[in-house]
Symmetry: C2
Subunit: 351 residues, 2 copies
């Protein structure tokens, strides 16, 4: 999608160099970083220069291709195996990362020599990235008909292209509707504690020229009550087989409020987000993160310097559950690359 | 209530000096300021060194007493009239401020001379402050029975003693229950955009030694779902005659979620908060405040300096409604200094 008028993906490869948008300082600094070694790419994944399931998976795939392109000598298969270990160790709970490493390792294992492995791994890594971008674009096409001309969409957190390779999930239907010429505006929840809505979603929407406003997370119900929200679209970190949806903390509140005001509530996610082995949301563990995320925040000061400040009372602590689970009963539809389905009918998009 | 073991009120008078806790830099700086002139006291009200209906009213009363104590010569009645004008102009929408000025002006008008006016005004201003503190203490006594041993209370924004002269509204039952020896803990919503929960409520609770945790506003529904919240108590800025309640933005979301999870939702407020001339919440105007409150936040940096930072995308704007209205149907009870009543039975506490 566009940044200052120029189209970008979150991550791509040029020669043996992995290039990505360094998301650590967005929206305050837009920087492209060049990762020349597998070690550098591993650091970028581990330290969250890139985040979001799709983008992490693509980066991991590129890292494995990079390992072959930088491989040399008789020991190249050992070098690749070591690189795979290194990448797997970066984000131990990121399923897409493991899938991507496995896919590229499989084509390497089938290759007769280093040169063949380089070609096969590069093609497979590119396919992983392209499939992610394509699936997200299809989510946009499937979801765009839900967005009427003049629609006002509420979203929570960032499920835009920054979390994938391109297009995104929750924002993809918005981008598709806008490119089809329909007027659409977005209300972006700030999404405390990490502020992905105010920081990343707002930045994405500005880049694409979509009219939008940030709100405090507290203001969503009031806007719903006033009739200023036509539909809600959020992303998902994990979908249980019964259609329960784990997503950023606060999603459950928005879903409850949307139901209260009879506003359609949609989840947009690639089918790779569905965990068929997980029967219900009750089985999804909720990560409790560092209380400092709640007690502090960061941004730019008057001089443009990036500063973290302690906002909360210095002698108090915090609870910081990172996700919640929205029950299928509160979800009007799940927008996937294979179409929009009711949460109770997920099997229709299973392959 | 206590600060570092010492009892305080938010505002009080010593001789002709109005003294108050400067709330501008709480929780990061605890400072008592001495206001030697009516002009200084007016500035403190206007620039929100003190905030909250009860505390503003008491300060306005003291300011009028101060005007008589500093009055001199034949023109003292003109000086008092000018002071009344000055105080009224500080916060044009603060009803308690007008009531307090009128009450003190009335006793001054009945006084034969400056000396009599000084005694009468001082007594009346002190009565206004004492009545506020007493009403809040009675709210605590009325509400404390709702808080069982071991109860976990969710609150939103700051409706503690900092908003009044002492005790507070929503937190007063918590303080009373704790002083009665019952174990009680509080979950404090951060309350973006201005963060009064993380800053002021957390600071108050720490001072009184009440166990508490700050949460992102987004986390309330999850904690309710898990059974970690036994009841919700919030304050109110204005209560319509039918029991609809205007309060800090986000209160409506908490009320909707509490109803969804069948958790009791209470509003605590002195009866002076009830606007009998306002039939329903639909007639309460909602102030839209500066978008910068949403786009920025402030706190202390690593060196302990107070810094405001821009958190949101620099090219985005925000919507910032400051209040919402919770319909009477979502409120289990209103805790007043005259007892706990159903929102539909407010007339029972009318005098």
């Amino acid at each position: 999608m566009k940044v200052n008028g120029t189209p970008y993906r979150t991550v791509w490869m040029e020669g043996s160099v992995v290039r990505m948008i360094d998301q650590r300082w967005l929206p305050h600094r837009f920087t492209i970083v060049d990762l020349d070694t597998v070690e550098a790419t591993a650091t970028a994944i581990r330290d969250m220069w890139v985040r979001g399931a799709g983008a992490i998976g693509a980066t991991a795939g590129y890292a494995m291709a990079q390992a072959t392109l930088l491989g040399s000598g008789e020991g190249w298969r050992d070098q690749v195996a070591a690189a795979a270990e290194q990448i797997r160790a970066t984000r131990p709970t990121a399923q897409n990362l493991f899938f991507a490493v496995e896919r590229v390792v499989a084509v390497i294992d089938r290759s007769a020599d280093l040169k063949a492995a380089q070609a096969a791994a590069s093609a497979e890594a590119q396919a992983i990235a392209d499939e992610d971008a394509h699936a997200c674009e299809q989510i946009g096409e499937a979801g765009a008909p839900l967005i009427a001309d003049g629609a006002r969409v509420l979203t929570h957190c960032n499920a835009g292209w920054l979390a994938f390779v391109d297009w995104g999930s929750a924002l993809s239907p918005v981008y598709k509707a806008a490119r089809a010429g329909r007027r659409v505006s977005v209300v972006a929840d700030e999404t405390r504690p990490r502020g992905q809505g105010a920081m990343l979603t707002a930045w994405e929407l500005a880049g694409e020229g979509i009219g939008h406003a940030v709100i405090a997370d507290n203001a969503a119900a009031l806007l719903m009550e006033r009739g200023e929200i036509d539909l809600v679209i959020v992303g998902s970190d994990r979908i249980a087989a019964n259609g329960d949806v784990a997503n950023k903390i606060g999603t459950l509140e928005k879903a409850i409020c949307a139901r209260h005001f009879n506003i359609p509530f949609y989840v947009a996610a690639p089918t790779s987000t569905i965990d068929w082995a997980c029967p219900t949301g009750g089985e999804i563990p909720i990560e409790e993160r560092d209380p400092d995320e709640v007690l502090t925040t960061w941004g730019t000061d008057a001089a443009g310097e990036i500063v973290r400040v302690r906002t909360a009372n210095p002698t108090s602590t915090a609870r910081n559950p990172a996700f919640d689970v929205t029950p299928a009963a509160l979800i009007g539809g799940i927008i996937t690359e294979r179409g929009v389905v009711k949460p109770g009918e997920l099997a229709r998009v299973r392959r």
